[in-house]
């Protein structure tokens, strides 16, 4: 067995579907039937999960720290809102893709700014782009509706068949379908040679360049893809809530997203999904205890997570599952601690 086929063999074994993954998606689907009164918050979680997955693609896999990911979310949200409001594209799925493409174009254009410089410059540039877009949206309030946001968006039925209902049932299954399709694609991407090269770049860009990986081109590609995902998440937000306001660009949104990913873990696709569930539940709990000051507790969670150390925390969380698996399967734990952080 030569080296190339050896690598290929291991990569393929990594990429195989595990039982756990199948079970995860079945549970998610089952939630849709078990909690018919909770569609709104579950849709919210799905949206957040998609958004977090988008950030994970650049943060967890390519190691680009971004403080302004809400920029793409916002562009997607406004694009979907404007398309529906002016009746340009009435069919939601098509509008979703167009909104995603709009964000993707922005992502491609700004990726050249982002790949330059070190972490700090990236933080600043991404933050700056998001703030710039927020200022623009405020400036052109005749198009965006300013601080009031876009109002009176009416969604047409999906494929002209399935209409959105007031309980959010359609919205939930629509979001779930979108999330699942995009997840499959992301899964394919990160397990491909392309995805492996991204990990190499994250670990050491200089070494990656030395073994012949076109670092800048790969980073541009993944940044553009992540922008597309974020745009779709934003468009889903508009389509399922029928509003788009200035706060889609807000800094809090980008910061919360970081927290989602940190809770779930970076560098594996389920991190964003699990993180979104935990984050939203935490937010609910804090909001019921202290309605006005939940931000304090969110901040505290962030501080504690960083001080304890993200890897150590994940080891603790996975301690019990690992123990159970060891007992019953009699082999080494399959639930692996995610790869080291950015």
């Amino acid at each position: 067995m030569n080296a190339a086929s050896d690598v290929g063999f291991h990569a393929q074994r990594q990429a195989r579907w595990h039982y756990g993954e199948v079970a995860f998606w079945l549970i998610v689907l089952a939630c849709g039937f078990v909690f018919p009164t909770r569609y709104l918050i579950m849709t919210d979680i799905l949206r957040l999960a998609l958004f977090a997955m988008s950030l994970d693609l650049i943060l967890g896999y390519a190691g680009i720290v971004s403080l302004g990911h809400a920029a793409f979310f916002g562009v997607g949200a406004y694009a979907a809102g404007l398309l529906a409001l002016h009746g340009i594209i009435n069919e939601p799925v098509l509008a979703l893709i167009v909104a995603g493409l709009a964000a993707m174009v922005l992502g491609f254009a700004t990726s050249f700014l982002v790949i330059r410089g070190v972490d700090l410059t990236r933080l600043m540039v991404t933050l700056g782009i998001a703030l710039l877009l927020e200022a623009l949206a405020e400036r052109f309030s005749n198009i965006t509706g300013g601080t009031d946001g876009l109002q009176g968006i009416e969604m047409q039925p999906i494929f002209g068949e399935i209409s959105f209902d007031m309980f959010g049932k359609t919205g939930f299954f629509y979001s779930l379908a979108v999330l699942f399709v995009l997840f499959l694609f992301a899964r394919r991407v990160v397990h491909s040679p392309f995805g492996l090269s991204l990990r190499a770049i994250k670990n050491n860009p200089l070494r990656a360049a030395a073994i012949g990986i076109p670092v800048n081109r790969r980073l541009i590609a993944i940044y553009t893809l992540a922008a597309f995902y974020a745009g779709i998440a934003g468009a889903l937000f508009t389509q399922t809530t029928a509003i788009a306001s200035l706060d889609v660009f807000a800094f809090d949104r980008s910061a919360d997203l970081m927290l989602v990913l940190v809770i779930g873990g970076t560098g594996y696709l389920y991190g964003g999904l699990i993180g979104a569930v935990i984050f939203r539940m935490l937010q609910e709990v804090f909001a019921t205890i202290t309605p006005q000051y939940w931000q304090f507790w969110i901040g505290l969670v962030l501080v504690v997570i960083v001080l304890v150390g993200r890897q150590r925390l994940h080891r603790w969380v996975l301690y019990v599952p690992n123990l159970v698996i060891k007992q019953f399967a009699g082999r080494k734990a399959v639930v692996a601690v995610p790869e080291s952080d950015a």
């Binding site: 700014l113 700090l120 933080l123 710039l132 927290l259 931000q295 901040g299 962030l302 960083v306 993200r310």
Partner: protein
């Protein structure tokens, strides 16, 4: 013509203020390579201490200013010794997350204690109003800011360039390992510098209540401004951030006056263009950190 000069004067005052607010960040970010997004929280702490002392306890304004400095510095040193110092060796992502968390906590805590509305500090009558010099309107308060901040800047430059502590700091920054090999207590130097930077931010916060507005969202609102000052100015000296803050102050005031519709657009565009053109800042060294 006179309106240009008045704007220039206001812009200089604004810039000076930004410099005092942000130069502590220049030290932590540039010299210690620590991304401290919570810097604005220290400024807010100073502002609120000053407000409570002046408005509620009836202290004179000029007596409250040093106390704003001292209290922010005390908070700074307490946090540095207990929390921050564990994070110097961590990745930038960890530092960003940690300081965002601190910022959120400070915002909610101040909101809880003092309410979410904007607060004002009662100024002595001598500082209110403005007078004319050859037709140029000069605000007394802004003149005082320029005086205080100008003196501070000169003092800082002298300390950095002439004193033993200054040379220790510069040595520790250039190469911490070599510096500690020479017997310089690097953590102590950093802790002291951090506290001093926080103190300056507190003083800046107290001074800025009148001009920038002081409310619980201060750290979030002005975070980007502080970051601009440091990243655009570079971190190799304090002259860089100083010039950058003057530029930013004048640009922002002029932008708001002449093209009010574009709002903060001008500033952000300027920042992005400068960062693309010179990733290490306008006045920065080219050394990769």
């Amino acid at each position: 013509m006179t309106s240009i000069l008045t704007n220039l004067f206001d812009g200089v005052a604004y810039g000076m203020l930004l410099f005092v607010l942000a130069c502590g960040l220049a030290v932590t970010l540039g010299l210690m390579n620590f991304v401290n997004l919570a810097h604005g929280a220290f400024a807010m702490a100073g502002g609120y201490v000053c407000m409570v002392l002046v408005n509620r306890m009836g202290w004179p304004f000029f007596a409250a200013l040093p106390l704003a400095f001292v209290s922010s510095a005390a908070i700074g040193i307490a946090l540095e010794r207990t929390l921050y110092r564990h994070l110097y060796a961590r990745s930038h992502l960890d530092q960003v997350l940690f300081t965002i968390g601190l910022t959120f906590m400070s915002v909610a805590a101040v909101d809880y204690i003092q309410g979410s509305s904007r607060v004002f500090i009662n100024l002595p009558a001598a500082l209110q109003g403005q007078f004319d010099v050859f037709g140029v309107g000069i605000g007394r308060y802004r003149l005082m800011i320029i005086a205080i901040c100008g003196l501070l800047t000169i003092a800082l430059q002298m300390v950095l360039a002439k004193t033993r502590f200054g040379s220790r700091l510069r040595a520790a920054v250039d190469d911490p390992r070599a510096a500690s090999g020479l017997g310089i207590n690097v953590p102590q130097v950093f802790a002291f510098t951090f506290a001093f930077g926080c103190g300056l931010a507190g003083l800046g916060g107290a001074l800025s209540a009148e001009i920038l507005g002081l409310d619980p969202y201060f750290p979030l609102k002005f975070m980007i401004y502080f970051l601009i000052v440091v990243t655009v100015g570079g971190s190799s000296s304090i002259t860089g951030p100083f010039l950058a803050s003057l530029l930013l102050g004048i640009g922002d005031v002029a932008g708001k006056y002449y093209v009010p519709k574009m709002g903060p657009f001008v500033i952000y565009t300027m920042m992005i263009v400068i960062l693309i053109w010179r990733p290490n800042g306008l006045f920065g060294r080219t050394a990769a950190r």
